[in-house]
Amino acid sequence: MQYIPNILFLIILALGIGYFTLNIKKLIRNIKLGKAVDATDNKGERWRNMARIALGQSKMVKRPIAGFLHIVVYVGFIIINIEVLEIIIDGLFGTHRVGLKVLPESVYGFLIGSFEILAVLVLVSVVIFWLRRNVIKLKRFLSSEMSGWPKNDGNIILYFEVVLMCLFLIMNATDTTFQNLGHGNVVSQFIAPWFGDNPDTLHIIERTAWWLHIVGILIFLNYLYYSKHLHILLAFPNTYFGSVTPKGKFNNLEAVTKEVKLMMDPNADPFAAAPEGAEDEVPAKFGASDVMDLNQIQLLNAYTCTECGRCTSACPANLTGKKLSPRKIMMDTRDRLEEVGKNIDANGGEFKDDGKQLLGDYITNEELWACTTCNACVEECPVSINPLSIILDMRRYLVMEQSAAPMELNNMMTNIENNGAPWPYNQMDRLNWAKED
């Protein structure tokens, strides 16, 4: 009988971690629906970017208030999780505060004491975050794409944090032996009197808080997959795979290079038979109309997006009332990718055409054509997401597959084709400016 709690703990832990692993596998499968990208270059710079941007939060502090509060929650989250290690050992082996057996009292007290202080700081930050979202109503949390689930998601995470931090403090406050120790209960000693001094009641509250705390953490872990909060894991790979070239450099499509070279080669025989093996090649689709046409880094970007809206609040098109919101581009990409993933699950591992795609059903032409490619969104993103690359790939599809550019742009492109300039001037007049007054 005495092993029942241990077995129960093991089952809960296995379920929690098992379900999370299943979802992570799904996540990886979904990302792999995109085109493979070679990101094996610049290893040193990539590791440095990850250390600086994800671990070091260097871009968060560009907005000092949100940045500082975020660092408090982030540091608190990571450090308090050391406590989870103790909880897991205690849970599995039926020990109680195993740390006290391993560490000197003073060291253990120092650790738990700092966790308690962090817990309070996290609580304060989370309350301010909640006020910013719900009372002060910062503009960037109010866009049209931030209604429904995205709005609730933001708040649910905050409630989770409050509950977890409170449970941690209650658990410490009602642990009589820990309170008697007089080490590390810097905060919980003030809460302890609220719960009276009946040892039985205290024990029940302590056990309840302890169990709820670990179950809460496991639920939170599994909540991540469905939430914008996935960034706490994906920010790391995402900053590693983020661009290491100048922002102005847009990739050259290799499929196009092949065709253009053939067109420009005076010796090429246009009627020549396709080379051996070429029949098997799927004809290249230029640009992107759905998530499978995007690359794996772009899809990883979509899962990493925290919907903080810094991109949108810096977007010149958005600032002047146009429909484009880089954040929405990322959210749409993730939503569509999830939809495709569910479709694959429902159809035994294969995607069945659902008559929908990212372009048109999620992202409209109007949004795409409003972009000035100014890179403000890319610059702003605290976790190296590039909404612009998705916009460009979709423009490529519109122009090269559908010839659906706005008319003025078609005129401009015809001019370049015919005269080598976006305006209808003769190429022979290119040096006239030097002769004019």
Binding site: V256, M263, K322, M400, Q427, L431, W433, E436, D437
Partner: protein, 260 residues
């Protein structure tokens, strides 16, 4: 500038068996746009003053394809790029200077994977080089004490992290340089990039260039300095929309330097 400018071509250099120090990539705007032509002329004036042996491609130059690429037409871009690369390589061009950040970015970053490798420099970087090597000296009185604010072009600034060269050059004029609230990496686009120059903006409640001009007007400038022909047009239009064209002039850094 009533005297005719001497603008030698690569073909002329080639005929004499010589190689210029730099190729001046004029760009489509610099060749055809009335406002941008003045920038090209001002830059040529600077080149003459500093005794730089330069040449242009002239009739052999074609559009870089940058704007086609941003509009999504990769075919047209690569055709233009490969034609230009063929000519540039035939002349064995090493160093290219341009007044257009879009050409600068495109030739510098996107031509290499198509076989075009050159040392590409923006004119503000080149002017800075000329000044610091002592080849170009300024009197620095024309703009002394004037309030100048510099609008960062997206394709020089954020796209290629060049924020200092234009500012260093402007400081040489002894002007009073005042920053807008959004500057350097947080600068707002003029609204012309990404092929927007060639189409009507999408529906909204304001034009981007007007918003950007408001940023500039907050600094109460005498002059708005630009380093891109498109920015110049957009800011000039913005100043007109705000009916300030009598008080505030929009000038490219090349023009400011040529006049001082």
């Amino acid at each position: 500038m009533s005297e005719e400018l001497k603008v030698p071509t690569m073909a002329e250099f080639m005929a004499e068996g010589k190689q210029p120090e730099i190729l001046f990539w004029v760009g489509s705007a610099g060749s055809y746009d009335d406002r941008a032509k003045k920038i090209s002329k001002a830059f040529v004036k600077i080149l003459h003053k500093a005794n730089v042996a330069f040449a242009v491609l002239g009739e052999e130059e074609s559009n870089t394809g940058d704007v086609a690429k941003r509009a999504g037409n990769e075919f047209l871009f690569q055709m233009q790029a490969m034609m230009n690369i063929e000519i540039l390589n035939a002349y064995e061009v090493k160093r290219i200077v341009t007044c257009d950040p879009h050409s600068y970015n495109c030739i510098k970053n996107e031509y290499p994977s198509l076989g075009g490798n050159y040392d590409v420099v923006h004119h503000t970087q080149f002017i800075k080089e000329l000044i610091s090597s002592g080849r170009l000296t300024l009197e620095g009185n024309t703009y002394k004490g004037k309030r100048i604010t510099f609008h960062d072009p997206c394709y020089l600034g954020r796209a290629n992290s060049e924020y200092d060269a234009p500012r260093d050059v402007l400081k040489q004029t002894n002007a009073n340089l005042i920053e807008m609230k959004r500057h350097k990496s947080t600068a707002l686009c003029c609204g012309a990039g990404g092929a927007q120059m060639f189409k009507e903006p999408e529906k909204g409640n304001m034009d981007i260039n007007v918003l950007r001009t408001e940023d500039a007007l907050e600094t109460k400038p005498d002059i708005i300095a630009t380093g891109c022909p498109y920015c110049n047009t957009m800011m000039t239009d913005g100043v007109k929309a705000k009916e300030k064209e009598g008080e505030i002039s929009v000038l490219d850094i090349a023009e400011l330097i040529a006049n001082s």
